[in-house]
Amino acid sequence: MTALLEPFAIVGRVFLLALAEIGQLARFTATTISHIVRPPIYWKLLLKQMLQIGYFSLPVVGLTALFTGAALAQQIFVGGSRFNAESVVPGVVVIAIVRELGPVLGGLMVAGRVSSAMAAELGTMRVTEQIDALTTLSTDPFKYLVVPRVLASLITLPLLVLVANIVGVLGGYLIGTERLGLNAGTYLKVTVDFLEQSDVVSSMVKAAVFGFFIALMGSYHGYNSSGGAQGVGKATTNAVVSAFIMILLSNLIITVIVFGT
């Protein structure tokens, strides 16, 4: 009889573990937010993290956007030419980049770079007792470690995505005018005509949300890691995977809310 019930027991255990994890994450998020709204904020650490997350991510985000924008223009040109509709290239490129690809690809690239680094750094600090040491030196680890990371990511991601959007459109423009023979002036005019304010706003909102999740997942997994080198490795992997999933999921939700009707 017990052998028969074993599959149900496994389902139950997994479900309980998942609930415990969600509860722990919710508590971590609530603590983080409560520390963000209560002074003091370590401004110097915030600036350092903004530099780390924002400035040093520019090359990878810029290149991603440039190549994606160019490839997108090429594909749309090929697809559009079947209906003699090559002129849609600038419009579709700018909408696709600003609404979806800029924030999502930018977010994913930054998550790969930043969530992993945060999880590894905080995880190592956890297993070598540096986080406990902070507490004994009357410094709150949330204020000192987590808040600067989450705030910096929340602030810099929209800026990064803004750059990604511009560079992405530039990629489409370059391949459109240099290779596909589209008129440069017309290209820019169509781009500007197609773009609406709501596109840019939703893009920035998405970026801020992604930025929050990138740093939250990196900090959460690092802060709660255990079990030496292997534990830190696991924390790093989990941070990146969960940041990716949170980005894609929240992107879907925001897209449905903003453009669904």
Binding site: T128, D132, T136, L137, S138, T139, Y144
Partner: protein
Amino acid sequence: MTENTPMIELRDVKKSFGPKDVLCGLNLHVDRGESLVIIGGSGTGKSVMLKCILGLLKPDHGEIFVDGRDVVQMSNSERKKVLTQFGMLFQGAALFDSMRVWENVAFGLIQGQGMNRKDAHEIAIEKLRRVGLSPDVGDLGPSELSGGMQKRVGLARAIASEPEIIFFDEPTTGLDPIMADVINDLIVECVTDLGATTLSITHDMASARKIADRIAMIYKGEIIWDGPTSTIDTSGNDYVEQFIHGRADGPIQMEILKP
């Protein structure tokens, strides 16, 4: 508080992790200015006890008083104030590897007390000298130091803010016997200088004999013996006897499978 209130007092403290009971009704007191060393094997709850006192872990049951005030029920801001009285030397030194050595030593002064960097730097160099390190060590990174030097920097950091209570978590583990004795001497000197109350956990008997006024033995989450250092050899307690002589046979059975 009056002179008679113990500096640290634990009453019936219990803590479990899942099904595993780590602390099972632990009672302990450390008097003002006293140096108490807790001995006990690995996994007997020594570190968990320290973390409960520091508020890094919350006990499931029981009361913990520091300077007569219950720290378990305290709000975070009150606990932060209490923590300013503490210094702690961690087992692995736990130096911040993103900072230079002197910044590590000065951390509590700069972040905790809001001292300016110039004054804090001076104090840090002074404390480094106190533990036998030259000022130029202050500009190195923690990873450039040997294990013994890291421990000494950890000690300098623990005493930098001149705390009233200092915890030592296995201060000599992982060091050679000579460096271990150097650390022991430094601990005794620094503690005497500050007049601090100290609580140490160790399984190194040489270290315990040197730094303790009083020794207590922890086994399976309870204090099973406690007395002045001079009486440790005549305790008449089988568990203590087995531990201080390091015998595999005796009432304490390690949880290992016999071949």
